[in-house]
Chain length 305, copies 4
């Protein structure tokens, strides 16, 4: 149950079977850092090229295809005092005929700057000047992108997501959440990055408040427990992520994974599982911006037998 | 500012330009009843044929095309001690290859029965027998379907929804909410029905706990305020509904309507409106069962300038 | 087997249970006219308001819910020497980020004019002036919109389509085709209009070359033959239409209807029907512009046992 | 302008930046072989694992990111006398509620066998026994999957497709067609495989008649011509492929690429290009089975100025 301090010196903009940067045992913790979506680190320096560069991959000893990797998100700490966002809702999120009427930014004006204050627990809009003034929001750090190496030797751009995780941009992946990921390759090969100081549902401007992180997580392996999509758990909910376009299909994946969870893992009889979900299920919109959209199917722990 | 007691003696299973059952003034309140989705009333009697029969339409004096109808939901009270649900998640909500593996009910076994207790504020599963036992949920009454007569003389099945409202099945339309609907015909012609004692997000089994209601609402007209999709407001949120398939398009409608709200009604500058939504917007899934799906785009009142 | 000459004096912009304009017997033929999508007749006069006004409905004696209405398209003749189209591909048909870069027409410049020459069998672009010059295409007349009154008392805008037919905008509905429609109400109540002198797949600019028609058709009723979606037949193909959004769902409807046709009507065993479709099926894109899109599933008659 | 004979000894089941198996010059031709979708070669031997194994990649000298790779399909010849298909339409292609009623094959009965006769030019169903008897179809060989290494170091499963090509399963890619692909990496890295002796539109059973091929192709490079999606050309059409889900988005990609072709490559003014497409465009359904669907936007050469 060691705690590993890991200082990254290179990053990957795909999630795949890259050479591991560190090998850890189930039960071990890792403390490391991530750069922002453009490859800038805590000092603001561009240390790698952009596009959601990942820290990792981390090889978890004993993890084999068909197992489940458990990742507890111990620490998600913004490690610099500023972040940035895009300023316009993405064209795919509004009615097609409204697209020309949107506030298309002039070249070089595409980004807004935000001040991030860990002590105050706030994120504050600095510029541009708008009728919002110094809009201040509660800090709510989350990694936009994390996952394990996918099946078949694929290496998938960190712009998108799939059964292996990836760029899900779900604001519910906060500190304290336990994540479950299906293992496709020996060692699982966990990657993480793309920190957001705060983000709205859907990541509809294409970014959260993009920032570098100090990250801490603890891994474990559930041998022989096969899951099909990323899952998570916090104090009040269990939840499953589906990643696909359109949202309808993302919803199908997430819902099907939750049915499996209730029936196969929790032992609820099928009729019971379906009746229960019908009247208590909740959905969150992860992202509706990336190539694959993300829907989250949640069940309150309070209603589970 | 009269309060009208109205006892329905017929119902419509389309929302359209039907002869009004009552004419009311802006500011007036109506107290009436609705039957359940199969046309059964508070005594359990089948008083009309099934398919979400509507009470109404109510003609609101002075409402003209281009205005906005305001409906405050004063009372949504289950008026009988039992309701029913379907028992299986709908095939369109799960992965296609899982459809044959679901608990398809035998003929005559398609429904579950629930006890509804207004005093205790609970809904309790009575049958079938499952591992859930007497699952008890908090009562949360909402009308699955309401709206105004659509444009162009259309009469639209209460199975579906559109810009005029309809079968949105959004669990957020609870007592105390103020609803805004675009007016397409003189008098607006408001219809309401399809009460649910409780419902999960998405109405994924195709029903909430279906029940008859005592309903009270107060109407008003905003002259010359043109909106394009149903809107609502509660203590903490303003929200807009988009109704379409796929969910992507429903989300586009709802998001576009919220942009209009922020820019046109609240006077936020476009860049400000987009930046604000990007980091604070929330989405709820209304339904993913009906012919048109419903997505809700919400903004917390606390972040509005 | 009478032939009825019918001169319309009013039109409907919904397809629904309107009072019939004529009652005909199975086997009878009707010769009538249709106005263009804006309500202009053969003399160019605006005789009704726009939005795909329909001629009809025609009541076919003996047609009852659960039967199939057969309509043979005997004559589809442009009855004036000019038509019009829109000039820009619809925003929903291109990538969202390309929408602002399209040739948005100035107000009053939204339409192109075309000369229609029945004798030469051609349609020729007259204006605007473009690098196309006097682009000349072969005449291929088809009604964009026709159908029968839908179920449940619905009246559906002629902008859209459904199981009852409607605004399918499929260029394959040409003279000589036999159409099959499910009957939902006594008399079926057949409507027709929205003639196009020519049209590309998908109706991607939102119009064909819009024009008024002389129309002739012969009706029949297949008692007790229940179909679920519009079907058609020409010399070389049988085909089924699915109308929905997204195209994926339209394709599901059309494919499912073709499976029914092969198995239930033609008596092919299920495994045979599926194998046959797998290697010989063809699809046409009806429209990708209207609220409901249309996909056509076709099977070559030559491969049917 | 050499002709290279290349005998593969290993295969890739992703399309990516793998070590090239051969380096060729623009203008050169390659003659090689491909195995079937399960990795079986012309002698029926399993020479690699399944999942659309690719022959290649071939490095084309001088091809750089931003160029266009030209591949002329010289020869697509079935090199063994039999192939196989699946027997059931895929669940995602039919209405969800019909999925349980389909002819789900017993384990071990999932495949049909077909005889392939190059001399007769036919493909004949051998088993299972169905009411189709010895159904015989004209041979129409096409590669289901080909493409170039994608951007950003991605390695994408040959189950799916994207801007780089991949598993498009479009029956229009026959002998004699010229294919254009965007180049993302030096040398382009062309892969090809997954031969089909014949296939219906949409590949709705998940396979064509799967078979090994003798393949011949000639490559060229268009320096500095940037395209965004795969394109093709035969005697009568130019066409563009869009690969995505849902079909709506695939159609958007293909249509946008065709607009670029008309405006940027052929110099048609924007208004002219849009008017022309509106009345003459055609669409083919490539596949509606794979993770990304494929739509083809075609323009008849006869109407191009």
């Amino acid at each position: 149950m060691a705690t590993h301090q890991f200082e990254p010196d290179h990053y990957f903009s795909t999630i795949g079977s890259h050479p591991p940067v560190l090998r850890v045992q189930p039960g071990d913790s890792v403390e490391t850092t991530t750069v922002d979506a453009r490859g800038h680190d805590s000092s603001g320096q561009a240390v790698t090229s952009g596009g959601n560069p990942m820290t990792g991959p981390f090889y978890v000893e004993g993890a084999e295809p068909g197992d489940t990797l458990v990742v507890h998100l111990d620490k998600l700490l913004c490690n610099r005092p500023y972040g940035w966002t895009r300023t316009m809702v993405a064209p795919n999120v509004v009615d097609p005929e409204q697209v020309p009427n949107m506030p298309w930014p002039a070249e070089g004006q595409e980004l807004a700057n935000w001040r991030v204050d860990n002590e105050a627990g706030t994120v504050t809009l600095v510029e541009p000047q708008t009728s919002l003034g110094a809009l201040t929001l509660p800090l709510a750090p989350m990694p936009g992108c994390f996952g394990v190496a996918p099946d078949r030797g694929e290496a998938i751009s960190t712009a998108t997501s799939g059964p292996f995780g990836g760029n899900m941009d779900y604001r519910g992946f906060v500190e304290g959440v336990t994540v479950y990921l299906p293992v496709f390759v020996p060692g699982a090969l966990f990657h993480i990055g793309d920190g957001h100081a705060v983000q709205g549902d859907g990541e509809i401007v294409g970014t959260g408040v993009e920032i570098s992180f100090d990250v801490g997580f603890t891994v474990d392996v559930q041998k022989g427990r096969r899951i099909y999509w990323p899952r998570g758990e916090n104090e009040t909910y269990i939840f499953a992520a589906g990643n696909a376009r359109p949202l309808d299909q993302a919803t199908q994946h997430a819902t099907t994974e939750m049915i499996r969870w209730l029936e196969n893992d929790l032992g609820i009889d099928p009729v019971g599982a379906h009746i229960l979900m019908g009247q208590t299920v909740e959905y969150d919109l992860g992202n509706i911006y990336d190539p694959a959209y993300t829907m989250i199917c949640k069940m309150p722990k309070a209603v589970l037998p």
